[in-house]
C-alpha cells in the first residue's frame, strides 16, 4: 500500500472507530457497518473492510465469523454480568474492570452490581462525582495482562 493510500485508510479507520464509539455512548448498542456507512457517507463494503481492520488492530472485537461488534472496550455489545447504570443510560461492560472504565471514560456517575462468575460473591461499585463512594468485594483477574488477547472472550 502506498503511503498516501495508507494515510487515507488510517484516517477512515479513525473516523469509523470514533463513530462506533459515539453510537455506543449515545444508544448503548453497537452499530452495524451499514449504520456507520450512512453516517460517514461511505459504502457498506468500505465500512465492513474498516471493521475488519479495526478488529485485526484490536480496536474493536467482532463476534467470531461475523461483522457484528462484540466488544468495543470498555463496552460490550451483548449482555454480560456487568450492567453499568449511569445517569445517561445503562451500558454493558465486559468485566468488572470495564464497569469502572465506563464511568471513568464518560465522566458520569455510575453504579454496578454484579455477581462474580467465579466465586458468586456480590460486587457493588458506586461512582459519584468522580469518586468511588462504595465498594464491596474485590476484583479477580484470572488472566495476566500479557495474555489478555489470547482469548479475549474468556478474559
Amino acid at each position: 500500500m502506498n503511503s498516501h493510500l495508507q494515510q487515507e485508510t488510517e484516517t477512515l479507520d479513525r473516523a469509523v472507530r470514533l463513530t462506533i464509539y459515539r453510537h455506543l455512548v449515545d444508544t448503548g448498542e453497537a452499530p452495524a457497518a451499514a449504520d456507520i456507512a450512512k453516517v460517514l457517507n461511505i459504502s457498506q463494503l468500505i465500512a465492513e473492510k474498516s471493521y475488519l481492520r479495526l478488529d485485526t488492530a484490536r480496536a474493536i472485537v467482532l463476534a467470531p465469523s461475523t461483522m457484528n461488534i462484540w466488544m468495543a472496550h470498555p463496552f460490550s455489545a451483548v449482555p454480560t454480568p456487568y450492567r453499568v447504570q449511569t445517569g445517561k443510560r445503562p451500558y454493558w461492560a465486559n468485566c468488572a474492570w470495564d464497569a469502572l472504565n465506563i464511568p471513568a471514560l464518560l465522566g458520569v456517575d455510575a453504579q454496578t452490581v454484579a455477581h462474580c462468575p467465579d466465586c458468586g460473591g456480590v460486587l457493588t461499585m458506586t461512582i459519584r462525582g468522580g469518586q468511588l463512594l462504595s465498594a464491596e468485594g474485590v476484583i479477580h483477574f484470572a488472566v495476566p495482562p500479557r495474555r489478555f488477547w489470547e482469548n479475549i472472550g474468556f478474559t
Partner: protein
C-alpha cells in the same frame, strides 16, 4: 489452572481513571508495552502477574 490475581475496587478505580480515558478521542491508539507498564506501576500493580514481558 491459572490462579490469577485479586485487587481491591479502590485500586481498580485508580487504574480506570487513567486507563481508557482517551477512547473517545479521534487520535486514540493502543498503548505501548512501556505505557502500560508505567500505568500499572503508577497504581501499584506489580509482580510477575502484571509483567508484560
Amino acid at each position: 489452572m491459572m490462579r490469577g490475581d485479586v485487587i481491591s475496587v479502590e485500586q481498580c478505580w485508580a487504574l480506570a481513571k487513567i486507563w481508557d480515558v482517551d477512547r473517545l478521542r479521534i487520535d486514540w491508539r493502543r498503548k505501548t508495552v512501556e505505557e502500560i507498564e508505567a500505568i500499572f506501576d503508577k497504581v501499584g500493580l506489580r509482580g510477575p502477574f502484571w509483567s508484560l514481558r
